[in-house]
């Protein structure tokens, strides 16, 4: 009993310490940044915010600008599609060694490579690829492809490890080549999972592709960065609107696709 009470007290003590530290960090941050809470929430600041917000309206809906924005949206969509496709292929290739099919050494090597690809964020990859491949959508494709390969390869490898090995082993027993035993024995079990992971990452990559342009990797992001740097708020508003529309459309499309997949695999 006494032990329990002592534990409860200890727990409470640690809550208090956490709260004190959190409060200290917030106060220290305000002090460190030249930004007083008084100024942030003052009437003056509110007026400035409203003014800034209103400067985006009305958006530039002239035919020429809308057409330009639409093309940039298509470019964003294309960058995400090609990047995800490359990642699916790369992930499929790397998941084979990463799932331990060829022994522990290739498994460790492949896992290490996947970890490296995954732990560098898309934006960092994009900045690197802009340096390597030049400005434009190709850098975006490479950036998405590299990061997503790391994510998908890891997910695919886990799906493979959790699928029964007997069907493929039985096919090796009738003299099938390892590749065919994989296609006939293992793939039917994991294909729906692989497809679902890929579609999910594509959905995320469409949103990410819209942002990648900020470091020069094409699409809506690059356009937004360009307009904002020139203080063309009205034009930027159109681009932001296109990003919102794209996001909503992707959500709706993926909901439909999910329902279709659920039916096909029920």
């Amino acid at each position: 009993m006494q032990n329990d009470e002592a534990k409860a007290l200890q727990l409470c003590f640690s809550c208090v310490i956490t709260l004190v530290i959190a409060a200290a960090v917030v106060i220290a941050s305000f002090a460190y940044l030249p930004l007083g809470p008084g100024r942030l929430f003052s009437r003056e600041a509110g007026g400035e915010m409203l003014e800034f917000f209103l400067s985006f309206f009305p958006p530039d809906l002239s035919a020429g600008h809308v057409r330009k924005t639409a093309w940039a949206a298509v470019e964003t969509l294309a960058v995400s599609a090609v990047g995800t496709l490359l990642a699916a292929v790369g992930g499929l290739l790397l998941c084979l060694p990463a799932s331990g099919r060829y022994g522990w050494a290739p498994r460790a090597l492949a896992r290490g490579l996947l970890n490296l690809l995954r732990s560098v964020p898309e934006l960092v990859w994009a900045a690197l690829m802009v340096l390597a491949a030049g400005l434009g959508p190709f850098a975006g494709v490479l950036a998405l492809g590299l990061h997503t390969t790391g994510v998908l390869g890891r997910l695919f490898a886990e799906a493979l490890e959790n699928t029964p090995k007997e069907p493929a082993a039985a096919l090796l027993g009738v003299g099938a080549s390892p590749a065919l035993a994989f296609v006939y024995g293992t793939l039917p079990g994991v294909a729906p999972q692989l497809l679902a992971y890929t579609l999910y990452r594509w959905e995320m990559n469409i949103r990410m592709a819209a942002i990648l342009g900020f470091v020069g990797a094409g699409g809506l992001g690059q356009m937004l960065y360009y307009e904002l740097s020139l203080f063309h708020q009205a034009q930027a508003a159109t681009v932001i609107g296109a990003m919102l529309l794209l996001s909503v459309a992707v959500d709706a499309a993926s909901a439909v696709a999910r329902r279709g997949l659920a039916r096909a695999y029920a």
Binding site: G173, V174, G175, A176, S177, L180, V183, Y184, G189, A191
Partner: protein, 275 residues
């Protein structure tokens, strides 16, 4: 020659001994039933013959070659000539029955044919004919996870019949079927053996099934051959001794009391029509 095992022994990686000093040979076209209590080594014996595991001691010779002296390619060619019926057929749940049956020839088809067959089945008539022998032609395009355990076992048998191997290894092939279907399935395996000169070795849990259909019975106990006799020479005492460790009554189909040998009936390959 079907196969020849000489003083074969196998110790599993965990140190358990599965087989010891097994010497057994089969001529081409012979039909052998292996019986014995659970854990006697029946499955291990079949896995050794199927080149799925390597013996710890002794010699294996299957279809005139020693599988463990072959190159990778030659071993694969040898395996295309060996068909295994698994007790729990290892079929992917989402695969269609026809694909599962056609997969029996993956070892002999060229790779492009195997891949194209995924898009459009390469030999619908052939797969249907083998399923029809087992009364399952109507499930040709069903998914495997829609089938019962007994139906899956019949798909597994149809795959091996479609494979057309020279040696059939059947590991409790009818354990999930009712007696009538079990008889039908065993008959078709026997018919395949007599009709095409295929060597057949089947492990069976139901003793009556073994005695009814097989001219040669091998009793396996604790990893060793206890007897190797034709059914007419098998006595009640031999069987009770074989199953002494397991139970007082002998395992039979549906638990019916065992009636000792009756001459094997004539069997023929069934050729029902396919649509």
């Amino acid at each position: 020659m079907g196969f020849r095992l000489q003083r074969l022994g196998l110790v599993h990686a965990n140190g358990l001994r599965a087989l010891a000093g097994v010497t057994l040979a089969a001529r081409r076209g012979e039909r052998i039933a292996v019986i014995g209590p659970s854990g006697a080594g029946k499955t291990t014996l079949l896995r050794l013959l199927g080149t799925a595991v390597r013996p710890s001691e002794g010699r294996v010779e299957v279809l005139e070659s020693n599988p463990w002296q072959l190159s990778g390619g030659a071993l694969r060619r040898l395996r295309t000539r060996i068909g295994t019926v698994h007790q729990a057929p290892p079929l992917p749940a989402r695969q269609r029955v026809i694909t599962a049956v056609l997969a029996g020839r993956l070892g002999t088809w060229p790779w492009w044919k195997s891949l194209l067959s995924l898009a459009y089945p390469a030999d619908i008539a052939g797969a249907c004919a083998q399923l029809a022998r087992l009364d399952l032609a109507d499930r040709l395009f069903d998914r495997c996870d829609r089938l019962s355990g007994g139906q899956l076992q019949r798909v597994g048998i149809a795959r091996v019949l479609y494979q057309q191997p020279e040696l059939i290894l059947a590991d409790e092939p009818v354990s999930a079927m009712d007696p009538a279907l079990a008889d039908l399935a065993i008959q078709q395996l026997i018919a395949e053996a007599t009709g095409r000169g295929v060597t057949l070795i089947a492990s069976l849990h139901a003793v009556d099934l073994a005695l009814r259909w097989f001219p040669r019975i091998v009793g396996l106990r604790a990893g060793e051959v206890a007897f190797d006799l034709p059914p007419v020479r098998i006595t009640d005492a031999l069987l009770r001794d074989l199953y002494a460790s397991e139970s007082a009554t002998l395992p039979t189909q549906g638990g019916e009391p065992l009636r000792l040998p009756q001459p094997g009936a004539e069997v023929a390959v069934r050729r029902p029509a396919c649509q």
